[in-house]
């Protein structure tokens, strides 16, 4: 590690690795700093869904559609296998009260020109035969995609390294260095200073804390998120299935919640999520341990929706801090501290990863990005003195 770079990226997840790749590609000498290891946080715990149909409208959807186009071409662009497969997403209304919200999602997306489908009653079971009959009132389906998270993350790092990126893992940042009101680099917890005129904070749920050291207030909060994986089985799920109440329930920032999300991985394992709890409600000694209450919630959820999985074995669980914002829209763009770029708090990460990387590289090079980011940048505020 040198004492000075053109840019420093904080965070080795989807957004940090993508920013590092795009900055390196644009000729900027970049250092990627990760407090643990590449892919060890929420991105490594993610299911790899290139989620399109549940996007918020407006700028989120514009970026999602461009992001989807980028992800479909990412294997070609990187020249590496990232496990991209076309995959249909199904969002299910498990209660009558979820139907109006799901119908709105369907109508908005249809009006925006997406080939989205509405299913009711037995149409749902024809589309997803292993779903328990009658448990789902209605569903929307959309043909999108999926990647294998670890391959994608390591592919971004590999290509970025080919272009000159340096990576420093197990490196903790104490503060952003601000000099004369502008970003000047970072100070590490071991006391070292690394200088750079650009610092990109892509620290997921840790973003708020890092930005606070530069006098900024960011509305990203963090929930403890727990997921499970089964042994590999034969073809079982045709869709990436998630609940219409997934974001509203699982990332409400206030209560512990369990919301359905089930997918079959590239390797045949069933990935099951997700239970969440705001960190304020989690005892510190349980911050990275699977909890008994959530374990029972997940069991009941699976037995209700996919009863034929009752005898299938769970191999492993994982817990990570998962970021969210009150509106489920990201914080992206230049902050009031010149040179400090924030790139975090996305609703669906994979689909936004490549497009956000291009935006970060444009900002770092003084170019105007292809999107008007004001709606996402206005969320970065100076903390009150």
């Amino acid at each position: 590690m040198r004492e000075e770079y053109d840019a420093i990226v904080l965070g080795g997840g989807y957004f940090g690795c993508s920013a590092a790749y795009h900055l390196s590609k644009s000729g900027i000498h970049t250092l990627l700093v990760e407090k643990n290891e590449i892919a060890s946080g929420a991105s490594g715990a993610n299911f790899g869904n290139v989620q399109v149909q549940d996007s918020n409208m407006g700028l989120s959807l514009e970026m999602t559609l461009e992001g989807f186009r980028r992800m479909r071409n990412m294997e070609k662009e990187l020249g590496l296998d990232i496990g991209y497969t076309a995959c249909s997403s199904m969002i299910v209304a498990e209660k009558e009260e979820h139907i109006p919200g799901l119908l709105q999602l369907y109508e908005e997306k249809k009006e925006a020109g997406l080939a989205i489908h509405w299913l009711e009653g037995k149409e749902v079971n024809e589309a997803e035969p292993n779903l328990a009959k009658g448990e789902v009132k209605a569903a929307t389906c959309y043909e999108q995609g999926r990647i294998y998270p670890f391959r994608y993350l390591f592919a971004l790092v590999k290509r970025a390294k080919d272009l000159g990126l340096e990576v420093s893992e197990r490196t903790e940042v104490a503060a952003v260095l601000v000099e004369g009101g502008a970003c000047a680099g970072i100070i590490l917890k071991d006391g070292r200073t690394i200088r750079a005129r650009i610092v990109v904070v892509a620290g997921g749920s840790g973003t708020t804390e890092i930005c606070r050291t530069a006098g900024l207030k960011i509305p990203i909060f963090s929930a403890k998120s727990e997921c499970f994986v089964t042994e590999p089985i034969g073809p079982f799920l045709r869709h990436d299935v998630s609940s219409a109440a997934f974001f509203a329930d699982a990332h409400n920032g206030k209560t512990a919640a369990t919301a359905l999300c089930a997918e079959q991985s590239l390797y045949g394992n069933i990935l099951i999520a997700e239970t969440t709890k705001p960190y304020e409600l989690v005892k510190p000694e349980y911050s990275d341990l699977c909890s008994p209450e959530q374990r029972e919630n997940i069991r009941d959820l699976i037995l209700r929706f996919f009863p034929s999985l009752a005898g299938i074995k769970i191999l492993r669980s994982w817990c990570v801090p998962s970021p969210a914002t009150p509106t489920f829209e990201p914080v992206l763009g230049e902050s009031p501290v010149p040179g400090l770029i924030v790139d975090a708090g996305f609703k669906s990460a994979v689909v936004m990863s490549a497009v956000s990387g291009s935006i970060v590289a444009d900002l770092a090079n003084g170019k105007t990005p292809a999107f008007d980011l004001s709606g996402f940048t206005s969320r970065i505020q100076k903390a009150e003195a």
């Binding site: 290891e37 590449i38 892919a39 060890s40 490594g44 670890f150 390591f154 790092v157 590999k158 390294k161 990576v167 893992e169 089964t230 042994e231 390797y267 341990l289 699977c290 374990r295 029972e296 997940i298 069991r299 699976i302 037995l303 999985l309 009752a310 005898g311 299938i312 074995k313 769970i314 191999l315 492993r316 669980s317 994982w318």
Partner: protein, 85 residues
């Protein structure tokens, strides 16, 4: 242990060559090698291969010989049916 085609993780069928590739890509712990190769993600959850992966990391000079580096054990420790969670 010296042949490239030797299976290090039999559950996920990961060879020594793949472990070496992960190390060359910058994976310097048992957990990082697991993420890169899937070694340790199968039925035995690294009980057999964890020690072998650590051995390759030591042999390649990435970890010191007296390391206790392991992947973090995760619930449910032994495979458990969904209904028994």
């Amino acid at each position: 242990m010296e042949k490239d085609e030797t299976l290090i993780c039999r559950c996920e069928e990961v060879t020594r060559a793949e472990i070496l590739e992960a190390i060359a890509a910058g994976c310097h712990s048992v957990s990082a090698v697991k993420r890169y190769t899937r070694a340790g993600m199968g039925a035995c959850q690294g009980r057999t291969c964890g020690r072998l992966i650590r051995g390759v990391l030591v042999e390649q000079g990435v970890l010191p010989p007296d390391t206790m580096d392991t992947d973090k054990p995760r619930f449910p420790i032994v495979p458990c049916a969904v209904r028994d969670l």
